[in-house]
């Protein structure tokens, strides 16, 4: 932890962000002896900072810098300044994630080939395949400790009340439902304890049973003496030389002083809003549209997941909160079957909210009040439900841009996020709502509440991978097409969203990227 590198040391890899992508990349490089500085905008937290309290943790760890969400979607009127629900701190969104670790399906790397041109969407195949990523998925599952996988041999968590209710509904309508493969220990593993089911996965795992780079990759990297993490360091600009190679990163430290850290390689891993924002903010006379943006795709194709919630009320108690947050998944509709009326698939992820968040999300926005809402909240303990998580079509006009006049506390233009449904998203969500109704009706639900989307924790696509430089921002290694020593290491690389939660894929890509960076450095190609 005490390693300090010189600002003028130009032999370092500078990694921006310490979450699933950045934290993993730092540790993978450190284990190979490659030195890096990790610049993290947020501060360092300890496990004792993690309280089992939804709103306290929301205000403590969320990324709450001002953002504008615009567009005709309901989300923009319900949450005009909170498009995404992400974390600012060492460990990034791996503090907040529910631990769901699923591999992409083969077709999800080939959405263009599978479905042809989709009108109104900007769909593209990934330049890599499932087969190519499979060994890295295995390594990621081992690293993170994913239960229910061959990679760890660790058992599932066992069926919670919440799981049992939804699984029975799924059984009655003939839908496949399984316990979730979670990166949450069910045995002592990797120096971390097994889950004791506090039910607050989203608030930071108090006991560290859930994988987070905060207390796995980051301290392991620091222990090698090859990694220096600088918390409370907000990146202002990535600098480059006359040849167009990046040379360093200008950032504001915790006291507001500007520092320039020289770099041999820069890897951007600030999640899908901040990463393109940094590239756009780094525009120069040589790159007037921002770094790595010859394609014009930086900040475009912003994908979340096609999302929504469904919470049914029953006559008898479910106690859904006495469970891992995501105890199981209904997989029935995860495939690509256009006969359903939409392309791509979705998962129904059994997921509980506490009463405080349920009151905020059951019917969010201005009109969420009155007897209907309060009667349902009075039935909180009799609720079971899930979060719909489906493939989101890449649409170029769903994007991140810079506000023309408004600046944040660092003097940087505020990001403007435009996001609305593609017709495929709407059809998919309607399909999911209808199947959910049947599922819950089959076990005697008294009322089925259909919740709109809430701020997205899955943010993808704004620096996407492409075979050809004109179609995207980075190549098959996450290396920018335009600038060879500039990498993207987070979910903004995703060419399509898949239906699965993004973290496992981000980690697999980061492990693979570290191999590539090490190889290229050895060959002096970087």
């Amino acid at each position: 932890m005490s390693t300090k590198f010189d600002l003028n040391d130009a032999s370092l890899v500078v990694i921006i962000g310490s979450g699933a992508g950045g934290g993993t990349l730092a540790n993978e490089l450190a284990q190979k002896g490659i030195r890096s500085v990790v610049l993290e905008a947020g501060k360092r937290f300890n496990l004792s900072d993690f309280e089992n309290d939804e709103w306290k943790m929301f205000s403590k760890i969320s990324w709450l810098d001002k953002r504008h969400l615009v567009g005709p979607a309901r989300l923009a009127s319900d949450f005009p300044n909170l498009p995404a629900w992400l974390v600012k701190g060492v460990g990034g969104a791996t503090m907040h994630w529910a631990g769901v670790a699923m591999r992409f399906q083969a077709h999800e790397f080939k959405m263009k080939t599978t479905n042809g041109t989709v009108p109104g969407a900007n769909v593209l195949d990934w330049p890599i395949t499932l087969k190519e990523l499979a060994p890295y998925y295995y390594k990621a599952e081992q690293k993170m400790g994913v239960c229910g996988t061959e990679a760890t041999g660790m058992p599932f968590h066992g069926e919670s009340n919440h799981y049992k209710v939804v699984a029975e509904g799924a059984r009655r309508v003939g839908a496949k439902c399984e316990q979730a493969t979670l990166a949450i220990n069910t045995e002592v593993r990797d120096g971390r304890p097994p889950c004791q089911v506090n039910g607050f996965c989203h608030q930071g795992c108090r006991i560290g049973a859930k994988w987070s780079t905060m207390y796995t990759e980051i301290p392991k990297a620091e222990a090698t003496g090859k990694t220096e993490v600088r918390p409370e360091s907000m990146v202002l600009k990535i600098e480059h030389d006359e040849s167009g190679k990046v040379t360093g990163v200008l950032y504001a430290d915790k006291d507001g002083n500007q520092r320039l850290q020289k770099a041999r390689v820069v890897a951007v891993a600030g999640n899908s809003i901040e990463s393109p924002r940094m590239l756009l903010n780094s525009a120069s006379s040589m790159f007037p549209d921002g770094l790595a943006n010859s394609s014009g795709q930086v900040g475009q194709n912003y994908m979340t997941h096609t999302a929504g919630g469904v919470y049914a009320e029953f006559e008898k108690p479910v106690h859904m909160y006495k469970s891992t947050v995501v105890p199981g998944i209904v997989h029935e509709w995860k495939d690509n079957d256009p006969s359903r009326g939409h392309l791509g698939g979705y998962e129904l992820e059994i997921l509980h909210l506490g009463l405080p968040f349920m009151s905020a999300f059951l019917n969010p926005g201005k009109s969420g009040w009155g007897r209907g809402v309060s009667d349902s909240l009075a039935n909180y303990d009799n609720m079971a439900g899930f979060w719909i998580c489906g493939e989101d079509m890449a649409v170029e006009s769903n994007n991140i841009t810079l506000h023309p006049t408004e600046k944040d506390q660092y003097g940087l233009p505020i990001p403007v996020i435009y996001k609305t449904d593609h017709i495929n998203d709407t059809r998919m969500r309607d399909h999911a709502y209808a199947r959910s109704q049947e599922l819950f009706d089959s076990i005697g639900a008294l009322k089925v509440n259909k919740l709109p989307s809430y701020p997205a924790s899955h943010n993808m696509g704004t620096n996407r991978m492409s075979e050809r430089a004109r179609d995207g921002v980075v190549n098959r290694w996450g290396q920018s097409h335009d600038i060879k020593n500039l990498f993207v290491s987070d979910g903004s690389q995703f060419t399509s969203s898949g239906t699965e939660n993004p973290t496992l894929t981000i980690v697999a890509l980061a492990i693979r990227q570290a191999d590539y960076i090490a190889d290229q450095m050895k060959k002096k190609a970087l």
């Binding site: 309280e51 089992n52 309290d53 939804e54 709103w55 066992g158 069926e159 919670s160 009340n161 049992k164 209710v165 029975e168 889950c195 004791q196 089911v197 506090n198 039910g199 607050f200 108090r206 006991i207 009320e313 029953f314 006559e315 008898k316 108690p317 479910v318 106690h319 909160y321 006495k322 469970s323 506490g354 009463l355 405080p356 349920m358 009151s359 905020a360 201005k366 009109s367 009040w369 009155g370 007897r371 209907g372 809402v373 309060s374 009667d375 349902s376 909240l377 009075a378 039935n379 909180y380 303990d381 009799n382 076990i443 008294l446 009322k447």
Partner: protein
């Protein structure tokens, strides 16, 4: 249409659960039920503050009663005592007593509440007997800062109030109790 529209205490008494939370809920409820009875005994003139008190005079006697009614209409839980609504509104009124802008938002809001009620139902908001009709009035104020401030404070004050969590059957913080792995992880038998 919710076929499960039991109010809180009824759903509690129907609850056959036997874990610690349920026991707490019952104890809690017997307490709040008494409060509710006491509150409903004073039907007329019940307000946020004692009549003619400083605070009641500050916001006006009509607002004093209509704001409490409004709060109960926003998140109606019939057997929840007035004090749970009052304790959310009190800090807002206290702020208003020191801040003219905040006072104006509250006082003007309460005034428009009565204006709309007068126009459409020919009486004060507080005198409209039907909840449905009062909701018609509130709906027209829904977008106002006045309404949203109160709604937001109530959401936090009722559903984020640890004192009330047992009543709703929510467990709150669990890590210090060893989580739920041995405390009801898989204890329902009706499915």
């Amino acid at each position: 249409m919710n076929k499960n529209n039991k109010d809180l205490p009824q759903s509690i008494s129907a609850d056959k659960g036997n874990d610690a939370v349920c026991l707490n809920r019952r104890r809690f409820l017997s307490k709040t039920s008494r409060c509710a009875v006491a509150a409903s005994a004073v039907v007329l003139g019940v307000g946020l503050f004692a009549q003619n008190s400083y605070a009641a005079n500050k916001i006006g006697s009509q607002a004093n009663v209509s704001l409490l009614k409004m709060a109960r209409d926003i998140y109606p839980h019939d057997n929840l005592a007035d004090k749970y609504y009052t304790q959310v509104l009190t800090p807002m009124i206290e702020t208003a007593a020191k801040d003219d802008d905040a006072l104006a938002i509250l006082a003007d809001g309460a005034k428009s509440l009565d204006q709309i009620a007068q126009q459409q139902f020919g009486m004060h908001y507080i005198d409209i007997k039907s909840e449905q009709e009062r909701v018609v009035v509130l709906k027209q104020l829904e977008s106002a800062l006045f309404f949203q401030n109160i709604k937001g404070a109530l959401m936090m004050g009722i559903y984020n109030n640890p004192e009330l969590w047992p009543l709703f059957g929510y467990g709150g913080s669990a890590w210090e109790k060893g989580g739920y792995i041995n405390r009801g992880y898989n204890d329902i038998d009706w499915i």
